[in-house]
């Protein structure tokens, strides 16, 4: 186990991980009779890439939903930036600087890629409706300013050529990338990724990995990710939480997890190389 002291730790490849950014304390979530999450606690540290893994239906996505405020757990507390987060609506959570992508792509199908990514900047655009209606002046200036930022993200994720394409027409992999772009546009301090690499081939996974690492590196964004590709998880993440049937069955560095018998039984099947 790592020494998870308040000051953080240093990873194998020499990155400094900071203090606790978000902490889940004894979260329990039920849907009628179904217990999706049972008494789970873990933390996410600043600058860290934190993976959540587990069999299907283990409650991983539900956990992300709890973090982003979409599900309200019956029990437990969410601590963010050192304070207990009061009950809030998802959009308020987003305003705290938490952005995410979705397991089943949730892009706005009726808009172009550019507009989709621009929605990521919503919380930075403050003109009111009257200024909007007049357009010239404040609204336009703000639009241009944010557009510049978005263009940077678009460059970064190499989706320049599809800027004006309606997202409905894009193949799956590109959609995932656009979704990431939208999340990044919000300049989040915590980025939640739900299976960002599902449905991709190795090469695309490599691209995606590169983006994730770069985001983490360049912007210092903290990332929590769910992924089923063990290769990716083990290579990218600093620490891993393992869930099974709503319970936490492991938490630690990839190496710890690899050799954790409970995890092997419940999830990996065979010891992963």
């Amino acid at each position: 186990m790592l020494d998870a002291s308040d000051e953080g730790y240093v990873t194998e490849d020499g990155r400094r991980i900071g203090g606790v950014l978000m902490e889940m304390k004894n979260i329990t979530l039920r849907f009628g009779g179904v217990k999706a999450i049972t008494d789970i606690s873990f933390d996410i540290r600043e600058g860290e890439i934190r993976a959540i893994i587990g069999p299907n239906g283990a409650g991983k996505s539900s956990m992300l939903n709890v973090i982003s405020g979409f599900y309200v757990p019956q029990e437990g507390e969410v601590w963010y930036k050192g304070a207990k987060r009061p009950p809030m609506k998802p959009y308020q959570v987003a305003q705290l600087g938490i952005a995410r992508t979705f397991q089943n792509i949730a892009l706005f199908e009726g808009m172009t890629v550019l507009d989709n990514v621009m929605t990521g900047r919503l919380n930075y655009m403050k003109t009111n409706m009257f200024q909007q209606a007049l357009w010239k002046g404040k609204a336009e200036a703000e639009e241009v300013e944010n557009r510049e930022f978005v263009e940077k993200i678009i460059d970064f994720l190499e989706i320049q050529s599809i800027r004006k394409t309606p997202v409905a027409r894009l193949p799956y992999g590109l959609k995932k990338r656009v979704e990431l772009a939208r999340a990044l546009a919000a300049e989040p301090s915590l980025l939640l990724l739900d299976e960002p690499m599902a449905g991709m081939n190795v090469e695309e996974k490599e691209d995606m990995s590169r983006f994730i690492l770069d985001v983490n590196d360049e912007f210092g964004t903290t990332i929590a990710l769910i992924e089923h590709d063990m290769g990716v998880v083990m290579d990218l993440s600093d620490r891993v939480v393992v869930m099974d049937y709503g319970k936490k069955i492991g938490d630690g560095t990839p190496d710890d997890i690899r050799s954790n018998q409970a995890v092997i039984d419940a999830y990996l099947g065979v010891a992963h190389d």
Binding site: F31, V34, G57, N201, V202, M230, G231, Y267
Partner: protein, 275 residues
Amino acid sequence: MLDAAETQTETLLEVNNIEVIYNHVILVLKGVSLKVPKGGITALLGGNGAGKTTTLKAVSNLLASERGEVTKGSILYRGERVQDLTPNDLVKKGVIQVMEGRHCFEHLTVEENLLTGAYTRGAGKAEIDADLEMVYNYFPRLKERRRSQAGYTSGGEQQMVAIGRALMSRPETILLDEPSMGLAPQLVEQIFDIVKSLNESEGYTFLLAEQNTNVALRFAHYGYILENGRVVMDGPAQELRENPDVKEFYLGMSDEGRKSFRDVRSYRRRKRWLS
């Protein structure tokens, strides 16, 4: 298991040089041909947007509902032209598709979802119950969730429902579109094991579109690689696995074995056979 030599057996499904256009303007498939031998597992590989799903939908005649159409070429099943059939005729002929992205009936329970799979069968209740039991055997998780609405099940559970539903129709040929997407590793293995065992014991034929090239090539007999709406390479799975390009771009292996995803940060432009 069939090996390369035996694929000379009867060709069940034959796609000849088809072109597909969406919305009258977007040309997606630019001449795709492939053959699916009876009793074999044929893999269709390729990156995002290569046209795998489109090819499968062209075969199962689901394109019309997406405003797409096959404008050229022909599709033969057992030597018979099937382009003009309705999807349900095709299911009656024994071809069923498991669609990409699950597509469960959200408001139906898991069990009802499975039962819709048996829609085209005239089988009696006992027989269908037996098949239901078989599916539950394959996917015990579904048995636990049988009474809940499919819309509320997790991604992986939905994938199981979709596959189970297809099995319920007792097909001859299954078109599987990305069965491994979003599944936990053991489940992926398990699903491919199921594919294999169905193939071997029941003689089901599979045409399988997959991103997870690694697994796909392990289980398939023959593979086609699609890029940008064209078949750029095909061959017995064994050979494809050995091919250095495939190794690098689809299996993520370099000469030193598996690369770490951390090491890809240095820029690297991909090589394309065609674009």
